[in-house]
Amino acid sequence: MENKNNIEEELESIAPFLSKIKKENNFSTPLNYFEILPEVIVNRSLNSKLFNFSFNKFSKHFLIPASSLAVILLMIFYFNRNTTEAELTNEQITNLIINDEYIKIDDYLVYDAYSEVLDEEKKTTSTTDEYINYLIENDIDINSIIDEL
């Protein structure tokens, strides 16, 4: 009783408006709620026992598969990290080829490949020279050719 009076006095001093509101519990329960509650709890407890799948986190049945899985995941992560593709700049590629001798190219192969280009150029030049010589030798005027065209 003394405690109740103290609470009300305390409330009145802090919140006079609130202290005037009637203190009542307006939360109710369905009819016969407390009568059937023990049965409900027993049923729930039994059901939870039936479906309760518990395991010990520190038992070897859990630790061995868990640690194996962790090792596999770590390995996958490690290898994925090392094989990440990086894009190289042109300068880096040149440095790799020239300085680091990343790709060794035989001089003969370079000459062989380039000689085809030189031959092609020669062919073009010689053909033009032949035409000019032909025109000179036969004394053909270039204007007559243009007129014919």
Partner: protein, 142 residues
């Protein structure tokens, strides 16, 4: 604390099952009432926290949802001023709400509350005073 009857029913059932399972570990240093109250308090907090996680809703929205639920709850029978008081209580942070309910409705002593909530008497007094002030202001404003 959880407002809706179905939720309260759930918390009551879990509390009693846990108490039954934990009964062999119950030390008679504490009162049975205090011990049960502590389990129920923890279960209420856990329930609200799970509800928030389950529906990915922020804590403020849980209280807003409860505030709306109380109006449609068929097992709530309060009049307009009582409804306003409940809505004011729901604006408080969870632990402060618990402190207010324990003191205002249950008329518990600070020492008992301290035992249940594992908090000092001084902190509880401060929390209750703050809660009362907030509620007073809320009711006056609305």
């Amino acid at each position: 604390m959880v407002i809706v009857h179905e939720d309260a029913d759930d918390v009551v059932q879990i509390t009693l099952i846990k108490a039954w399972k934990g009964l062999p570990n119950f030390k008679e240093e504490a009162k049975l009432y205090t011990w049960l109250y502590r389990i129920a308090t923890n279960e209420s907090f856990t329930f609200l926290s799970n509800k928030r996680k389950r529906f990915f809703i922020p804590i403020v929205d849980v209280e807003r949802e409860l505030s709306q639920a109380i109006e449609s709850d068929e097992f709530y029978t309060g009049d307009e001023i009582q409804l306003k008081l409940q809505k004011a209580i729901l604006t408080l942070p969870q632990k402060q709400r618990m402190v207010f309910n324990m003191k205002y409705y249950e008329e518990m002593k600070y020492e008992e509350m301290a035992e249940i909530l594992s908090t000092s008497v001084g902190a509880l007094k401060a929390s209750y005073h703050l809660a009362v002030k907030k509620i007073e202001n809320f009711i006056k404003e609305v």
